[in-house]
């Protein structure tokens, strides 16, 4: 089967790239921020440190994974690796799933590494739940990045699309709430806006429900929270990979 060698190459690429350095830098920076917060906070020091660092690390993790996926795919496209790989007896699906498996492993490693400093500020069980949710979130972001870079081909376009997707997925609940509160209940325009917001919400993963900083301080994620994150990640990754496969099979290489 061709999936595992491709995944292994992707993992090797991550290990040999500057991604490890970046993750290390983020860890050092997070500890520095924690030290700074300890000096300025008067009460609830651990809670403040945990919440702020968790938010920073979550954003860093998403950024690193997206950047790695996009740059890796663009480099392969420039090196004509895809053409070379597909000239072998390898189905396109095998190539894509192998790449995704590698990216997923990188995403999980990044999530675990960046969750470690949080154990200094919150119970380990809470941090473990938070980390599992971060893995789910990064799996989704890796799949979306892979789809965008395969479809759009260019670094700038792909990164812009992924960034827009991430912001929308994090804020779609607020969008729904705002769209549903029009004081005019009769006019058509606000109702259409409400329908559009509901439609977008149906298509987007609810990243705002995942990996919440509040979990670190307020008793950790519940079973329903984690099951929701796992279920959403499973469905959404399958959807995006199916869309990416569809696009890859249509491309004339």
């Amino acid at each position: 089967m061709s999936i595992l060698p491709i995944a292994r190459i992707t993992l090797l690429e991550a290990a040999r790239s500057r991604l490890v350095w970046l993750v290390g830098l983020a860890l050092v920076a997070s500890l520095a921020v924690a030290g700074f917060l300890q000096q300025v906070a008067l009460i609830e020091v651990r809670e403040i440190q945990g919440a702020i660092i968790a938010a920073l690390l979550r954003a860093c993790a998403a950024f690193f994974v997206v950047l790695f996926v996009v740059m890796s795919m663009v480099r392969e496209a420039n090196d004509k690796f895809l053409e070379l790989a597909l000239s072998q007896p390898m189905p396109r699906a095998g190539y894509l799933l192998g790449k995704y498996l590698g990216f997923a492993a990188v995403a999980a490693a990044v999530a675990v590494a960046l969750s470690l400093p949080l154990a200094l500020f919150a119970p380990v069980a809470h941090v473990a739940g938070w980390a599992l949710s971060l893995v789910c979130e990064l799996l989704i972001m890796a799949a979306v990045s892979l789809f965008c870079v395969l479809t759009l081909s260019h670094v700038l376009a792909a990164l812009t699309a992924v960034a827009g997707f991430y912001v929308l997925a994090r804020s779609v609940a607020a969008l729904q709430i705002i769209a549903a509160t029009s004081p005019d209940t009769v006019a058509l325009a606000p109702r259409i806006a409400d329908w559009i917001a509901q439609g977008i919400a149906l298509l987007m993963p609810r990243l705002d429900r995942m990996t919440q900083s509040a979990w670190l301080a307020d008793g950790g994620p519940g079973v329903a929270d984690l099951a929701g994150a796992l279920g959403q990640a499973g469905i959404y990754v399958a959807l995006i990979l199916a869309a990416a496969l569809f696009d890859l099979y249509r491309q004339e290489l």
Binding site: T181, L202, L203, L239, A242
Partner: protein, 258 residues
């Protein structure tokens, strides 16, 4: 643009899988409870300094987004008792924060005066009216419409004439905008008349007419008509009091509306 193959070239299992996954995502999305901004979720706002930090150099845009989000809390379409669970102290603090981020914005005071103050709960209503009153002084010539509305709410909804008079007095003394209608600065004598202070109302309206400040002919005519009514009531009271002092005490004058 790269050339693409026809859709028929995509393996059937990929097409079926994509459709099945899309259906699964729709089903998953439909099963999720709709997001709602519950009243208890409205916690006190951050300090203005922290809010400006979080606004990353875009305080006006942050204020607009915050305002749109704030109005969603405890919002129920078609309910008879709106905002009944909302913490009005926290709400007032949020509105003040939004005004701090965007002082030129009219939305916070508009919602305070026209939405949150018009709830069927006098305590909550007064909190919003006081917010409008406090914030009015920061920019009287832009914020007069909301204090004028607050005066109307105090007078007609709360039936609190001293409160309405306080707002009307502030409007009269501090509003100098040329676009403000004359009635905004002339609410005091009408409220005084409603409070039964006919003599004071007569003096104020007479002074307004004599000062020549009222340039619009219709406004001047309305004032003259109101002055005449007050004088008639004064005369009637004087006659009634002379004939039956007890009767005039039992029947206070009918209220007038500006």
């Amino acid at each position: 643009m790269a050339r693409t193959r026809p859709v028929a070239d995509v393996p059937r299992w990929v097409r079926a899988g994509a459709i099945a996954c899309l259906a699964a995502q729709f089903a998953w999305g439909t099963m999720q409870p709709p997001p709602r901004a519950e009243a208890e979720d409205l916690s006190p706002p951050p300090s203005p300094g922290v809010a400006r930090l979080l606004a990353v150099g875009e305080p006006v845009a942050a204020a607009k987004v915050l305002m749109l989000h704030l109005q969603a809390f405890d919002y129920r379409k078609g309910t008879n008792v709106p905002y009944r669970n909302l913490d009005y102290d926290a709400l007032a603090a949020w509105l003040e924060l939004i005004l701090d981020l965007d002082p030129a914005g009219q939305y916070p005071l508009m919602t305070a005066a026209r939405t949150y103050a018009e709830v069927p709960d006098p305590v909550r209503s007064r909190k919003m009216l006081e917010l409008v009153y406090r914030e009015y002084f920061a920019d009287p010539n832009r914020r007069w419409p909301w204090l004028a509305h607050a005066a109307v709410v105090a007078k007609h909804r709360l039936k609190d004439m001293p409160l309405a008079l306080r707002y009307a007095t502030a409007l009269e003394r501090h509003t100098t905008a040329p676009d403000a209608p004359v009635w905004v600065r002339q609410m005091v004598p009408f409220i005084l008349a409603d409070m039964g202070e006919l003599e004071q109302a007569r003096i104020l309206i007479g002074g307004l007419i004599a000062s020549g400040q009222v340039r619009d002919a219709r406004d001047a005519k309305m004032l003259e008509r109101r002055l005449q009514m007050i004088e008639e009531r004064l005369a009637a009271e004087a006659t009634g009091a002379a004939a039956d002092p007890a009767s005039s005490a039992r029947h206070p004058p009918a209220t007038e509306r500006p």
